[in-house]
């Protein structure tokens, strides 16, 4: 009774918070790469574990503990099924940041006597780059592969960079800012041939694109709950058993999670992540089609109304729910300020408070000024066509308004090459 009522309330709250955004003045949520709402069905699955079915999954001496453990193992199976892994190969963590730290530092430390080289990419998530910098300070050698203008790495360059001291290649499957999909299968094949472990940060990829750890030769994979309509505070790391990948744990105690990650497993969060994966597995195909149609609709409407807008990152090798567009001759801060009725971001959430232009866009070769004018538009499960149309119209109107006030825009329209102007210094 109690759970049903609460479920109904949640369902209403989630739908209410996201639909008809203008009716109560709430902005249209277009920031699905920063975080996704917890799917009401996921919340419903979690609810009993907050009260009637609570228990410590590590208590092996009474029914509460056993039932909690069963629920955790069921969730582990649901995650494994989505990425075609064996449930025994999945470790629960507090999120993708911890998974990435554990994968990179864990492998580096374990194999440090034989190998000391790590290969990653300049557009990785900040937590991967920070973990790599930390390892560099400790004496490891790290190669940061560049990306092309489309945001993708060059496989030949990867091959040439691997040497006999390389322990690990860490390349994200999907970029959080520009949504481009790296050639994971090819990277996996290269790594396997060269006897190098392959870690991939799949926080933005799980549930969005099909993943298969066997087929793609993935040795370690980071998974996030709150990017796939699951709860915050939970994630997972896939760690291959054959050929076996070994790790030095970051959090060592109690021995939970095969000794790789200690701490009481947060039962409701584990259940929530499992449920989110099960829904994604069932609905991913249809959802991708729906999102792609809406994404294209949004992009086409913007292109029709606005000249001189530039899509950042490859359009074909891209998840359906992402656009990242630079609006030339518009001041980025002004654009964000003018679009308060849209919840969008100018880069990743983790760096959104900084005024620096996105390092991801800079790595693509986007000029600093243009990078400053960029918006990340993230579409997701609860996005509606009406919201997309509203967003397109509002962005177009705002860009037109700002350009109308811009002398640079006026000069560009008159055919003056802005870059050739020598500005007087004051």
């Amino acid at each position: 009774m109690r759970a049903n009522e609460a479920t109904a309330k949640i369902e209403n709250a989630v739908r209410g918070a996201l639909k008809n955004p203008r009716s109560d003045g709430a902005p249209v949520y277009l920031d699905y790469q920063a975080t996704t709402p917890t799917d009401p069905r996921v919340v419903e699955t979690m609810l009993p574990y907050f009260n009637a079915r609570f228990g410590n999954p590590h208590s092996r001496s009474h029914a509460y503990g056993w039932r909690a453990e069963d629920a955790v193992e069921h969730a582990r199976e649901q995650i494994a099924s989505l990425i075609k892994a064996n449930p025994k190969e999945l470790i629960f963590t507090s999120g993708a940041t911890e998974s990435n730290n554990l994968a990179l530092k864990g492998v580096a430390y374990f194999y440090k006597d034989k190998k000391n080289h790590i290969i990653t990419c300049v557009t990785e998530h900040k937590c991967v780059l920070d973990a790599c910098r930390h390892l560099e300070q400790e004496g490891f050698r790290v190669t940061y592969l560049p990306v092309g203008a489309n945001g993708l790495i060059d496989l030949e360059r990867l091959k040439a960079t691997i040497d006999d001291k390389t322990a690990l290649v860490s390349i994200m499957a999907v970029n959080n800012e520009i949504g481009v999909i790296q050639p994971i299968r090819e990277i996996g094949r290269i790594c396997r041939e060269r006897g190098v472990f392959f870690h991939t940060d799949c926080a933005q990829a799980v549930g969005k694109i099909p993943l298969d750890v066997e087929d793609m030769n993935i040795d370690l994979m980071s998974i996030s709950g709150h990017k796939i309509y699951g709860p915050m505070g939970i994630g997972a790391l896939y760690v291959r058993r054959r050929p076996r990948v070994r790790l030095v744990p970051l959090i060592n105690a109690g021995g939970q999670e095969r000794g790789m990650r200690s701490g009481t497993l947060p039962l409701p969060l584990c259940v929530g992540l499992g449920a989110a994966c099960a829904i994604a597995e069932k609905e991913m195909g249809a959802e991708a089609e729906r999102l792609k149609a809406m994404r294209d609709r949004l992009y086409n409407r913007l292109k029709q109304r606005l000249p001189e807008i530039y899509l950042n990152g490859d359009l074909d090798h891209r998840i359906p729910g992402n656009l990242n567009i630079s609006f030339a001759y518009v001041e980025g801060e002004g654009l964000m300020m003018g679009l308060k009725d849209l919840a969008v971001s100018s880069g990743s959430a983790c760096t959104s408070a900084s005024l620096e232009p996105s390092y991801v866009l800079r790595a693509l070769g986007v000029e600093e000024e243009l990078a400053h004018t960029s918006l990340r538009l993230g579409l997701g499960r609860f996005t509606t066509e009406a919201e997309v149309d509203y967003a397109a119209d509002r962005i177009a109107a705002e860009v037109e308004r700002l350009r109308a006030m811009s002398p640079l825009w006026e000069m560009a329209r008159e055919g003056i090459d802005i870059k050739s102007i020598k500005w007087a210094e004051h």
Binding site: S61, A63, A96, E98, L250
Partner: protein, 375 residues
């Protein structure tokens, strides 16, 4: 599967308090990354900062000195490894998450009641002049025995050492004031005090340096990277506030616990209460029934619908005696026959009756000599 109707391992995990449940559910339904600058993000940020105030208030700390983590284990690891001290000195009865985080730590013995030997602590600190970190729990998870943390902190200070206090079991059961304890670092866990699982905190005094365990993203002032567990943190805050308003509940639990122990001993004269002569948490009882293995008791009680534990949940189900009871120098038959009963906010007087009924019946069936008097 038979469901135990009486739940008495509250030290392993305690049910969500209604206030916390409401906060968790309300925030689960919302969307927003606290690092995002738009309205959804700012609302999530506000939720976290409100909770930070609530958690700080529970231990008399300043909100800016509270760092949220994924739980007590991570907070312990953060303090022990992030404090950057050349050596670590711990008591022999610390939680596994402390002992395993620094395998090379010096272990200070405890007496037969489980209380740290302060002279030995002093000697350990005096023996080596390198900067040290002392890690001493406020209350033990298996016996409930409370450690003289403030006195240990004084000794630590005299030797230029910092002090970390794992207050996971104590917070919410007895008043905890980080400043009075003299601790540089205090670990808290939400699910041990009626908050949700998957969230904890490390509280600092604002002076001791600390380096992050998880890097990248800059959350929690650079001390703990990763998108914050917004609903978990909201629930932690609500639980901290609720528990602070309801510390009286522990008076009720102490009376029940004392009655349970008195009646258990009256019924089974050979039974022993471990740590009984020390200052203890009001809710915990470590009860030994010599001659009857703890596992046998736990299983029989579970079949009777009463959930208790043998030792801590983290090591339950594993072969090997409790390191806590072993450190107290107790005989093997005492150590091997001790169960832990821990009450919580949702316990009822009837739970005590159900436990005593089942346990005395078990003692009558299995205890050597069947030495059971009428309760």
């Amino acid at each position: 599967m038979m469901q135990s109707a009486v739940y008495l391992p509250h030290n392993a995990t305690t049910p969500l308090r209604p206030e916390a449940e409401r906060a968790v559910i309300a925030t689960l339904a919302r969307v927003g990354n606290p690092s995002s600058v738009h309205r959804f993000g700012r609302a999530a940020r506000r939720t976290i900062e409100d909770a930070r105030e609530q958690v700080a208030a529970l231990v008399g700390a300043r909100a800016e000195n509270v760092t949220f983590t994924s739980g007590g284990t991570e907070a312990n690891a953060l303090a022990l490894r992030g404090a950057g001290r050349a050596r670590v000195v711990v008591s022999a009865v610390e939680h596994a998450s402390v002992l395993a985080a620094v395998p090379g730590a010096v272990r200070v013995p405890v007496d037969s009641e489980g209380v740290i030997d302060l002279a030995a602590l002093e000697a350990a600190l005096a023996a080596d002049s390198r900067p040290a970190l002392v890690s001493l729990m406020l209350a033990n998870n298996e016996t409930g025995v409370i450690q003289p943390v403030a006195r240990a902190a004084e000794i630590a200070r005299r030797h230029g050492a910092a002090l970390h206090c794992d207050a996971v079991q104590a917070a919410g059961k007895i008043p905890v004031d980080a400043a009075e304890l003299g601790a540089h670092f205090v670990t808290l866990s939400a699910h041990k005090l009626g908050g949700p699982m998957g969230v904890g905190a490390l509280v600092t005094d604002g002076t001791a340096p600390l380096e992050a365990l998880l890097k990248g993203g800059g959350q929690e002032r650079g001390l703990r990277a990763g998108t914050e567990n917004v609903s978990g943190i909201a629930g932690f805050g609500a639980a901290a506030e609720a528990v602070r308003a309801d510390l009286d509940c522990m008076g009720r639990l102490a009376a029940w616990r004392d009655a349970l122990e008195a009646r258990a001993r009256a019924a089974v004269p050979s039974a022993r209460i471990l740590g009984a002569d020390a200052l203890r948490l009001p809710n915990t009882s470590c009860l030994a029934l010599p001659g009857v293995a703890a596992e046998t008791q736990v299983i029989a009680l579970d079949l009777a619908g009463v959930a208790v534990s043998a030792g801590s949940a983290c090591s339950s189900g594993k072969v090997g005696a409790s390191h806590v009871l072993a450190a107290m120098g107790l005989d093997a038959d005492i150590v091997g026959s001790a169960i832990r009963i821990s009450l919580g906010w949702s316990s009822a007087a009837a739970d005590i009756e159900r436990f005593l009924e089942s346990w005395t019946a078990l003692a009558a069936r299995t205890a050597p000599g069947g030495a059971v008097s009428a309760a």
